[in-house]
Subunit: 396 residues, 2 copies
């Protein structure tokens, strides 16, 4: 029997350009919040999973240094990396450790300090996370270019315009403006977005997430412990995960991400949710909007809309509060920011606090089903993790 | 109830300077052997855990590229890093995934291609895996220096001489000379070792493991599947893991590694083995001899000898076949080589094949207890993993 696992504490640093702190200090901002919220002692923690991609930070092997700074030296620990899906992969390994009985309480911290390197270095490193040899080295593809290929294909097939993409940015900046932890805390207009400079046509600066520093942490516990700590544990109902070819040139279609569809399908099956009516089961979703086109594809890959119809959701405002399914009420990667390994953990923190009704006015979703979804992608769907969080203890 | 997990297939590349292959090709050498030995199809694999430290290889995010080359694109996957203990950490996450019921069959591959960078770059990167800011940047400490501190302290306290350290190198080269997969396949003498140049006094070139490229893979399966695949699954009886401060200057003593003692104690407790008579339970051990002094400290940290008496074991030949406990019959890190993320997985491969009586003549241990131990350290005990492998299904 798999043991049930739940979130009992959450922490979230301010995302942004964080030259005011070093890597372990940045990690500790969220670790402290999470430990305090769970009201546990550091001695209670059996396992520390550190999500960090690194390469742009001077600390080459960060897990030990972060543990030491947080007074957690001695614990069982390791570092996880799954590109921009690192945070979700880190959660999965901690959940498995608790579910199997190897640990009772685990800390998961995702942290990234990307602005320690110069922007061209960061863009090069991120670009390599496709296939270095074939696509980065030979064709010079970096991430705006990859997603621009998806955007042009989608626009060509479904009559979507650049203005439609900007609607995503407007929504996510709208909600980020109410999130004190967000990288960008101001609203933008479609006009501003349309006038921003091209990064890789048709994607403009305002279609793109920023290069952020930040950390997010959760405390996970077994059922026995979680129910003692809190009356409202946030259960990990299901995790679906998948991967895809590292060569974009080998992808079969460019209107969605195969790995995301596969991960969603697995998560829905494990949670026994009807994929055809998935929005009826959820109160909100945090999806991986590294570029605006990615959020529209996510709507379709997750089954919120049929293929080619995701754009209708944003045109009709269906992914605002009050619509079919509120998406990225945190501001998303686009406006809350994207410190890459923190992102998946930050999604978990946002969903837990939404389900707890602890969010700032104006961006708190109405909670009816007690269930939220996180969609976290690495690369352009090289990795995908879909995680279902619930106030209701899973059956079985 | 935690599900039981066993090794059902093993693969091991040739370790050495492998400029003949790229990273995924090197990984595939061991993946293919392991999959073939387990007689499974690639479709049967639910999870691929890739152990890789990287930084010296051009592929920045290697898991996806390796999966694709091995025709495993689409699988649930992530990369693990725990410095030189990466291989064991990778095994732990896969074991937890199977034990919890999230996967039935997992592939664990540890791979490192260190010679793709110039030696000074590699030495710098490895050096950073202490504490970059305090000890590497400020004091210029790299790994030979760290272990030299331990060696001088040990020599001062227990009257050990440089010749004693060389005895470890002689033993491990002796066994590596019979291992066709080893980086160094020739015997050496104490005299040769003593005449080799100093790297960091008292450690000489022949006290030090080489910078190796290589990969190792295992297929892990749940009890139900493992017992169908083979009559002699190698059970994961217990895994102990711990960490320590990243600052050597904060360590309390220099005659052993706190994290290794803690990991061993946890593993013995989980496997219900008497720590006072541990050698009676084991047929062999693979220990982390990145420098010769490290093997002597391992004898003591694992309880094979009392504090200060580990050196007697090598002086008396007790860690050769026929002695109290044969250690590093593979040649160890010292002579089989140390492609850092492959090392822990390579230890598992060696122990499984020893327990299966499949090893070359001259370095096959007599198998009586059906049990072997792997001791895998990251940094200078920043991380430690101790894993017990057994032909007998664990109780409970």
């Amino acid at each position: 029997m798999r043991r049930k696992v739940a979130i009992v504490g959450t922490g979230h640093s301010i995302y942004g350009v964080r030259n005011d702190v070093n890597l372990p200090e940045l990690a500790y901002e969220s670790i402290k919040e999470a430990v305090d919220e769970a009201k546990i002692g550091l001695d209670d923690i059996d396992l520390v999973v550190v999500g960090n991609v690194g390469g742009w930070s001077s600390e080459y092997l960060p897990a030990i240094v972060i543990n030491e700074y947080a007074d957690l030296a001695g614990k069982s620990t390791f570092r996880i990396e799954a590109a921009c899906a690192t945070g979700s992969a880190a959660i999965k390994t901690a959940v498995d450790a608790i579910a199997s009985g190897e640990a009772d309480i685990a800390l998961v911290v995702g942290v990234e300090k990307m602005n320690e390197s110069l922007t061209p270095v960061v863009v090069e490193f991120i670009g390599r996370s496709g296939n270095y040899f074939w696509e980065f080295q030979n064709f010079g593809l970096t991430f705006p270019g990859y997603y621009a290929l998806y955007a042009t294909y989608y626009m060509f097939n479904y009559g979507v315009k650049e203005e439609d993409l900007c609607l995503i940015a407007v929504k996510n900046h709208h909600y980020a403006s109410m999130n004190p932890k967000a990288h960008f805390q101001r609203k933008i207009t479609v006009d501003e977005c349309m006038k921003s400079r091209y990064i890789a046509w048709p994607l403009k600066l305002y279609d793109s997430c920023p290069i952020s520093d930040g950390s997010a942490s959760i405390i996970l516990a077994s059922e026995e412990i979680a129910t003692k700590i809190t009356d409202t544990p946030i259960w990990i109902e299901a995790i679906g995960s998948a991967s895809d070819t590292s060569n974009i040139t080998r992808r079969k279609d460019f209107t969605g991400l195969y790995a995301a569809r596969k991960a969603a399908s697995e998560a829905y099956k494990k949670a026994r949710l009807d994929p055809g009516e998935i929005t009826r089961h959820l109160d909100l979703a945090e999806v991986h909007d590294c570029f605006t086109i990615a959020e529209i594809m996510a709507y379709e890959d997750l089954g919120f809309a049929k293929r080619g119809e995701g754009v209708k959701l944003i045109r009709e405002g269906q992914t605002y509060i009050g619509g079919l399914i509120p998406v990225n009420l945190s501001g998303g990667l686009k406006a809350k920011g994207h410190p890459i390994a923190a992102t998946g953990v930050g999604m978990a923190v946002e969903i837990a606090r939404q389900l707890w009704n602890k969010i700032e006015r104006g961006r708190q979703a109405p909670i009816k089903n007690g269930r939220g979804l996180a969609h976290n992608v690495g690369g352009t769907g090289h990795y995908a993790y879909v995680t279902i969080y619930s106030l209701t203890k899973p059956r079985g």
